[in-house]
Symmetry: C2
Subunit: 224 residues, 2 copies
């Protein structure tokens, strides 16, 4: 039965991550779902057998996308039903509060603080939504140079976009990825505002007391 495929929290997270239409690799989906690659592999083969996702081999990656719009439509419908009873959000993500608050997503900041940062950038018009993509405004560039010593040439990369929205696993909203996301995270580390957790493999990001304050000053929630 198809519904049971969607019913599993881990698979639901994967499918949610694919709802934007882009294809993601198996490991990316594993990260989104907060599970190990082995488990993800198992889930993905089930989803594939159920016709919900379609794989596309490319080098040593396997990109998965939703098979077609029908699938996306049904998922939307399910989300709609879930939304109106407030019966979504089964709290499947990381139990660890620290992981929910701040963690590494590839090379950029994710979790509560990551989402908060993108919110702030958007709200202050430092970035602008352009269709599917996000781009840095001139004011945004000024802001980065002034407060974080980040120059535009540090953000140029042959293949990677400066900004990219990345669906946040625990928050289910977007945080900032792309070259800028990575550069910001790197700068936070350099400024000793935050460091990745010592335990190997951990994705938790620990903010120092000072770092947290500085971060809040730049990207804090403003209630204007």
């Amino acid at each position: 039965m198809v519904a049971s495929l969607v019913g599993d929290p881990a698979r639901a997270n994967m499918l949610t991550a694919l709802m934007n239409g882009r294809a993601l690799t198996a490991s990316e989906l594993a990260q989104e779902a907060g599970i190990t690659p082995q488990t993800a592999s198992s889930h993905l083969s089930k989803l594939e057998a159920g016709g919900l996702v379609a794989p596309e081999k490319q080098g040593r990656h396997r990109y998965y996308r939703l098979t077609d719009d029908d699938v996306a439509g049904v998922l939307e419908g399910l989300a709609g039903l879930a939304a109106r009873t407030g019966h979504m959000r089964v709290r499947t993500g990381p139990k660890d509060p620290a992981l929910r608050r701040a963690r590494i997503c590839y090379d950029h900041l994710a979790g509560d603080l990551g989402v908060q940062m993108l919110d702030s950038l958007r709200q202050r018009q430092l970035v602008r939504q352009k269709k599917q993509d996000i781009e840095l405004t001139t004011e945004g560039a000024r802001f980065l140079a002034k407060h974080l010593q980040i120059s535009p040439d540090m953000l140029s990369h042959p293949r990677r976009p400066v900004c990219k929205a990345c669906l946040d696993w625990s928050e289910r909203r977007h945080h900032l990825a792309g070259m800028l996301g990575a550069t910001l995270m790197q700068r936070f580390a350099e400024l000793k505002w935050a460091t990745r957790d010592a335990t190997p493999g951990s994705r938790v990001v620990n903010f120092t007391r000072i770092g947290e304050k500085q971060f809040a000053a730049l990207f804090g929630n403003r209630r204007d």
Copy 2:
């Protein structure tokens, strides 16, 4: 998550039974799903909490219906996805082959033979589909009188329709219910073609060798 609610086979059977738009009681749904009332109760309260079904109290019955067309639509969508991969039919029904072949559904014949009978009646124009309902044709009445000594007045009842399609649990297709369905089953018993299984509470119907032959002669699959 809503999908996990639909994902469970028993609940899926219940929802399938409700897809025709009519409301069914808790025990009817239990029968459709092939589970005990206790289990059904548990499932129904979950479905209700998830906003998929809405209860309606009436006397000492609780009638359940799909909350609205949105729910039905999503279920249709899921069925559609399932259909195209041939990934439905998880075969959850009764393990017992006898139960799959012939059993009592309330007071009429269900299972493989029940579905086969309705198929035959339809194919030979002895009954006619009229919107949601089924009605006996004049030829049908003749047929019943001639071969089974069933007269039209035996089928008239203040509240109960003569014919009714009942979704078959194991076959997932319709078999014949209503006054005619009940009368036929009763006649089969009188003619010693079939008897309900001796074990109390069992829904299995055992056909005698002769009964099976006669039944096949009247309602057998014809390959014309």
